[in-house]
């Protein structure tokens, strides 16, 4: 225990603090994921529009999301917005803004991909069988689009959860930050804590993301028929 520096976990309320930190990380990702899914669905439909203005807007947005590092975006929102507009956004809200900005873009692209991948003939077959537009979408298009979408969007969710380890950089006290604090406080008495604490954090992330990943592969298998 002491060799791995795991003893500090059981000192005082350390374990509870770590779990509290983990919850902050999960909370930020959960809120961002919900916003990303809702707005991402709308953005995805918007991306399928043939209107040139809509195309340019979605293109530029998506490129920004893909190219810009999340950390830089967070610094811009958290520090930049405060200086330039004098508005005070908390670190948590800044994180959620940046994560949602990122998630809506990527989710939108996944939705666009899923919708455009449904062949024209599927719509025509449905029409030839006497289905109206609503029936075609309900029975044919949406079920097929969702089957494509869910595994990929779950992958996006796990990436968002992992990336919350960056939000400590703007001062959110999440699991990484709590871990650092514990390590600092025990620097003299158990210098090996640096291994134990970060190791535990690794496991925590793993046990949050693993079930989600399992769900994705389960759905993928179920729907591959």
């Amino acid at each position: 225990m002491e060799l791995l520096g795991l003893d500090v976990l059981f000192k005082g309320t350390n374990m509870a603090r770590m779990l509290g930190g983990l919850w902050v990380a999960v909370e930020i990702s959960l809120i961002s994921v919900v916003i990303s899914i809702v707005l991402g669905l709308l953005f995805g439909v918007f991306m399928t529009w043939k209107n040139p203005v809509a195309r340019v807007i979605s293109r530029v947005y998506l490129e920004i999301v893909r190219i810009m590092p999340q950390l830089v975006l967070m610094f811009i929102v958290f520090f930049g917005a405060t200086r330039v507009w004098g508005i005070n956004i908390s670190a948590e809200v800044s994180s959620i803004i940046v994560f949602s900005f990122w998630g809506v873009g990527e989710m939108g692209d996944l939705v666009r991909g899923a919708l455009t991948s449904i062949p024209k003939h599927q719509y025509e077959s449905a029409a030839a069988l006497g289905m109206n537009k609503a029936q075609t979408y309900y029975h044919i298009v949406i079920p097929q689009a969702v089957r494509q979408l869910i595994p990929m969007s779950i992958n996006l969710v796990t990436r968002m959860i992992k990336t919350t380890s960056l939000v400590m950089m703007i001062g959110v006290v999440e699991v990484m930050k709590v871990g650092q604090q514990i390590i600092e406080a025990n620097r003299m008495v158990s210098p090996n804590a640096v291994f134990g604490i970060y190791g535990i954090i690794l496991l925590m992330y793993f046990f949050v993301c693993w079930p989600i990943s399992l769900l994705a592969s389960h759905l993928e298998k179920k729907w591959s028929n």
Binding site: P119, S125, A127, A128, L129, G130, M131, Q144, N225
Partner: protein
Amino acid sequence: MSGEREIVLRIEDLKKAYGDNVVIDGLNLEVRAGEVIVVIGPSGCGKSTLLRCINALEDIQGGRILLEGQEVDGKSKNIAQIRQKLGMVFQSYDLFPHKTIIDNVTLSPIKVQKRPKDEAVAEAEALLDRVGLLDKRDDYPRQLSGGQKQRVAIARALAMKPEIMLLDEITAALDPEMVHEVLDVILDLAREGKTMIIVTHEMSFARAVADRVIFLEGGHIVEEGIPEQFFDHPKTERAREFLHTFEFAAVRSHTE
């Protein structure tokens, strides 16, 4: 025999163009109940477009299409009801990949025609049995061969109890050995007296199944007639030339 039967489909002066490209130019056609019409012609002559217009999958630029006296118009509110009377089978089968075979066949009868589920399932099973695929009822389309998929697509169209079947080159995407199993189903339907309009490149099948052959070129009907007359003694030079493209002259003589 077709003389006394009622006319189910009447096409009057149909015009279809994509921009300046006129595909169908003033086409007239009457189809009587129980009649099997085979449409042939060189590629790009408008045969597939004709079927797609009949089912309002394409908008038309002129003329009228009347199904049992009702105008077929893609913009009208009751187009979904009219389409139920037209069973269409496409070249690429287009089964719904996320549904089992039985669900593919029963989906529209249950959801669109609101028929009771057990009745629709029983009928679908009878249809699958008829096309020889009842044992595949719980499989997914991807587990089937092309010929099997196409037979399911035929059963799916039949499940709506259509007045007319529209078959758009249904064997064109199939391996040669699967063509027969699909066409046998169609021959069986013809024997039963199903009204059908068939676009095909299979000349021997056309000859066997047709009551009337229509030769289309440049958006017009160039020649029409009973198959024996059309295939053996075509009246127009164009039809003769077209039929000739299906024959090959021997390169060498093999007389001993």
